[in-house]
């Protein structure tokens, strides 16, 4: 704790340490009684006297400058370049459950392309009565639905299999976002083309150079898959597949094909590059699981966490985080402060919804003691989020994908937090 807040921070972490130092100061000064009047109250401030911006100062509003650190971040060493890469949602700095599009993680295989609505075409072919081509306008004429779903990359937390690696909830758990989608059930389009009931799969692909094709069993395609064109009320962002993407509730993000251009009804899986060489999970004996589509129940404490240390004094503390399950709705989240010896049940902000993020809170007291913070999610199928040791016992350390283990943050007396593994 050598850095003071006034020295030039050289890194994010130095900055965090600085913030924590300030918190320690606050413990002494901050109490129910103020020593001197607060000039922010006793003196007339500029904003209380002069004028602010007029309307239209920003025709499309962006977050205020003070929030400029709430941004997506990339881990450069992870991939060869940024064109075929991923970045991370700043979940440590968000609350509620809806992820703003502007900071929702991106994953591209051949870069985010610019595809205008006027140039957009969607084809349905294969085992159908009439192969069809739709324009964007055509899609807007089908009855549409609204649903909130999380989209989690199968590789979320993938860097943590072999040990605690990245210091921040954004980096360990930020390959996720949660939006309200407006779209057409895929079923509607399949019916419009007259799908052959002997077709047991659909193959979906994007318009970008990678095409990112995936095979989806017909049962899922007819169940809850959406062909979506709006997110959180507005058009999809370029980086999320504008103008049209697929939404495959509860299943790994790679299947949520962006810039969706073709749906083919088939009687077998295509076994594309994405569903064989990638997004398959190598077990300890070298045998790999394939078709591991569902994202198992998972949770993480987003604050306090390494990027969101405790900066206030002792007393009331809000511990909060996110929980989700690709198999159903979250029913309960437990929080442990002692690395899993004892648990208490957190408060859900709202009852869990199917395949959507659930926000949990533990409103507690903190008197500067060290904590080993963990959260444990349960869903309505009876699944309980496992520890990393339990997962390794079944899968080894080479799976890359589908790491839904319980996360531990070591919170120090200073309020700083670090990503650790515990026995």
């Amino acid at each position: 704790m050598s850095e003071s807040f006034t020295s030039k921070p050289t890194s994010r972490r130095a900055f965090l340490r600085g913030t924590a130092a300030m918190a320690a100061g606050a413990v002494a000064a901050g109490s129910a009684k103020a020593a001197t009047p607060d000039p922010l109250i006793t003196e007339v401030q500029d904003w209380a006297s002069g004028l602010g911006d007029g309307v239209d100062a920003t025709p499309y509003g962006l977050p205020i400058e003070f929030e400029s650190d709430v941004i997506r971040r990339n881990v450069e060493w992870l991939t060869a370049d940024t064109i075929s890469s991923i970045n991370f949602t700043p979940i440590h700095a968000l609350d509620g459950t809806i992820t703003p599009q502007g900071c929702a993680f991106e994953r591209h295989h051949s870069g985010a392309i610019e595809l205008a609505k006027a140039d957009y075409r969607l084809m349905i072919n294969g085992m159908v009565e009439t192969p069809l081509v739709f324009t964007y306008e055509d899609l807007e004429r089908f009855p549409r639905e609204n649903h909130v779903y999380f989209c989690e990359c199968a590789a979320n937390t993938g860097m943590e299999w072999a040990g605690a690696q990245l210091n921040g909830a954004q980096f360990t758990h930020g390959m996720i976002h949660n939006m309200e989608y407006t779209g057409i059930p895929l079923r509607t389009l399949l019916e419009e083309a007259g799908y052959d009931t002997a077709g047991t799969w659909v193959y979906v692909e994007g318009a970008d150079a990678s095409s990112n094709g995936r095979s989806i069993p017909m049962e899922k395609a007819l169940d809850d898959v959406l062909v979506a064109f709006k997110a959180n009320g507005e058009a999809l962002r370029k980086e999320h597949g504008y103008p049209v993407r697929l939404v495959v509730p509860g299943w790994e993000g790679n299947m949520w094909v962006k810039w969706l251009r073709r749906i083919e009804v088939t009687d077998g899986p295509v076994e594309s590059r994405e569903e064989t060489s990638k997004y398959t999970d190598v077990l300890e004996d070298g045998i790999a699981r394939k078709w591991t589509w569902a994202m198992d129940a998972k949770s993480v404490v987003t604050s306090p966490s390494p990027q969101a240390p405790i900066t206030h004094g002792h007393g009331p503390l809000v511990i909060t985080g996110l929980a989700w399950s690709g198999r159903g709705a979250i029913t309960r989240v437990d929080v442990s402060k002692d690395g899993g010896k004892t648990w208490e049940t957190a408060r859900l902000a709202k009852p869990g919804e199917k395949m959507a993020l659930t926000r949990f809170y533990l409103d507690t007291e903190w008197s500067g003691e060290e904590m080993l913070l963990q959260s444990r999610a349960m869903d309505d199928t009876g699944y309980v989020q496992p520890t990393k040791a339990q997962l390794r016992e079944v899968r080894g350390e080479n799976s890359i994908y589908h790491n839904n283990c319980i996360q531990t943050w070591w919170v120090r007396e200073t309020g700083e937090a670090e990503n650790v593994e515990v026995s």
Binding site: S11, T197, G199, A209, S272, W293, T342, V420
Partner: protein, 345 residues
């Protein structure tokens, strides 16, 4: 793909009873034309469905691979840096860090063919001819010691090839293998005797550092001002629209090249200040022998040379490592050069 023509015919007769597929229709969209389906329906399945007629041999493939793939995947498909390795890794799947290549991991050859055909080369997808795809796939097999150098891959012998790890996959068995995670009544108290920290992320220290911090603006601002002045003089003669058009064209280059402030060497050298610079002079970049030979002869990247190189890289410089087919349009060439010129040092 086309095997479904038969299936579709059957479907029509089934349709009378198969209600779910034929619910109320809105009559939206239009029938897809056969040419349109042929243009987009390119996927190839493990049984070879969708594979077009054609063939290609290992040696032709080696040359194509060297031109179009080796910049990222290495001359022997061994991979460059973080780019995918396509060869090697035999018997490593149960090791601590498995090497997952076409030879060691991929279950089906159709996947390789399909991916090369539709999505490669990176930044120039769908530019390879059918026979070229066969040849490249033949070379990838060769680089994995799966065929001899006189091997010719074709649609006829395609299904004879069985990749080593074809049987290395099982269908998701989490419901059975992990059924103990569905235990509904987790422990709440006295769940462990003791808790020890066994690993810390700080020890590994691989979390990205935050770059410039808001708290230290003074010094950097001055530097930026100077840079802006220099750039303005240099750019004065350039057509802003052409530069903007060039920035768009540069998207084709971005996969391998960086330019501007903070640019680094990637698969290709950084291009800041390239116009007017002696060829082969970017520090720390490993150039091809072909380029170094031309450098010794005094090659300078003036507008004419750049234009000729970018129009037909391999004609201008036989043996260049740059796996780029070239810019066909003159307006793209003048735009890209304007953009490169606007990014002076």
């Amino acid at each position: 793909m086309s095997k479904y023509l038969k299936a579709t015919a059957t479907a029509v007769s089934l349709s009378l009873i198969a209600a779910p597929g034929f619910a109320e229709k809105l009559g939206l969209g239009r029938a897809a034309l056969p040419e349109e389906i042929a243009a987009w329906d390119l996927d190839v399945s493990p049984d070879g469905t969708g594979l077009p007629v054609g063939s290609g041999d290992v040696l032709t493939g080696e040359e194509l691979f060297s031109d179009s793939c080796a910049a990222c995947h290495g001359e022997f498909a061994e991979g460059v840096g973080n780019w995918p390795k396509l060869a090697g890794g035999d018997d490593t799947l149960a090791d601590k860090d498995p090497v997952k290549t076409v030879g060691s991991y991929w279950p089906y050859l159709s996947t390789t063919w399909d991916y090369v055909n539709r999505s490669m080369p990176f930044g120039a997808a769908q530019t390879l001819e059918t026979d070229e795809v066969y040849a490249i796939v033949a070379y990838i097999l060769y680089s994995n010691d799966l065929v001899d150098e006189d091997f010719v891959l074709s649609n006829e012998n395609f299904s004879d090839i069985v990749l080593p790890n074809a049987d290395g996959f099982i269908v998701d068995n989490r419901l059975e293998a992990e059924s103990h995670f569905w235990n509904a009544e987790p422990c709440m108290e006295n769940c462990k005797d003791s808790v020890e920290i066994t690993m810390r992320a700080m020890v590994l220290d691989v979390t990205p550092e935050e770059e410039a911090s808001a708290a230290e603006p003074e010094a950097t601002e001055e530097v930026v001002e100077v840079a802006v002045v220099v750039e303005e003089t240099a750019v004065a003669a350039l057509d802003a629209e052409l530069v903007a058009a060039g920035e768009k064209v540069f998207k084709k280059c971005k996969a391998c090249h960086q330019i501007g402030e903070g640019a680094k060497n990637k698969t290709g050298p950084l291009l800041t200040g390239i116009v007017g610079k002696a060829a082969g002079s970017i520090e720390g970049f490993k150039y091809s022998k072909a380029l170094m030979a031309m450098t010794e002869d005094g090659l300078v990247w003036d507008e004419d040379n750049l234009s000729a190189f970018l129009a037909k890289p391999k004609a201008f410089m036989k043996g260049t490592k740059m796996g780029f087919a070239g810019l066909k349009k003159d307006e793209d060439l003048s735009a890209i050069i304007a953009y490169l010129a606007s990014n002076g040092e």
